[in-house]
Chain length 148, copies 2
């Protein structure tokens, strides 16, 4: 039932899914150095990159929210925002309702750096163009069925 040949190749659904996963994960790892290079080129550590990604220029985030999103403690969030601030990419402003709290925003240079980072991280790996257009269409349709 799970085998469709005598050569030991198991083509049951789970086995095919495993092969799909192996290829997909392998491709992700194959393209990873390129994404690492994007951060290196912008001079961002992984922590700074994650921090930058959580912020923008319009919506203020409290330290508490950021610590939760980064799954770190409050003092680490303070330290991380301090570093973005020293880099000129973020700034703290007083919270309009709660004078204990601060709201963190990206500065204009921070917004620009964030955009470059997001663009680089999401850039289509050129290896995909090794497939022809019809294959890519099929792939698109199938992959769109997966959660993300």
């Amino acid at each position: 039932m799970a085998d469709d040949s005598d050569d030991g190749t198991d083509s049951g659904k789970a086995a095919v899914a495993e092969q799909v996963w192996r290829s997909m994960f392998g491709f992700l790892m194959h393209t990873r150095p390129r994404r690492d290079a994007v951060l290196a080129h912008l001079g961002l550590t992984p922590t700074e990159a994650k921090a930058l990604d959580s912020l923008d220029g319009e919506t203020g985030r409290t330290m508490k929210e950021l610590a939760a999103e980064w799954t770190c403690d409050a003092s680490t969030a303070t330290w991380t925002v301090d570093r973005l601030e020293r880099l000129g990419m973020a700034e703290r402003r007083p919270h309009p309702q709660d004078r204990r709290a601060r709201l963190v925003f990206l500065t204009e240079p921070g917004v620009t750096t964030r955009e470059e980072m997001v663009r680089g991280m999401n850039a289509t790996p050129p290896e995909l163009l090794g497939l022809d257009t019809e294959e890519l269409h099929t792939l698109r349709t199938l992959l769109a069925k997966l959660p993300h």
Copy 2:
């Protein structure tokens, strides 16, 4: 040539490739917490996990080789192997030809932990089973054309 409709949807090859990538990358990020949990459950830091992955019980690796593979300097490799050794997962043995060098092997517990780690990291995400068998076959064929 790059547009096949008037609604602003660009279905040129590059645009389709971009959508493919977005889905694929999104799925990989979606499944990432599960892989992080595998390491957390085994009590491994990312560095330890990478180190474990480079070693086995039969083929000894020199410190120099390991530092190159981990793209770290020699002292960091020493420190990393020290830690695996303290965890009882690796051991140094003298190099048979060069008395300056050491060969690093996994111990039996190290081999076992490595196996569990690899199994967990490579485990097929159950979300893939949301596709039917034929779709998975198609996906397998197309993804196999990508480098990994």
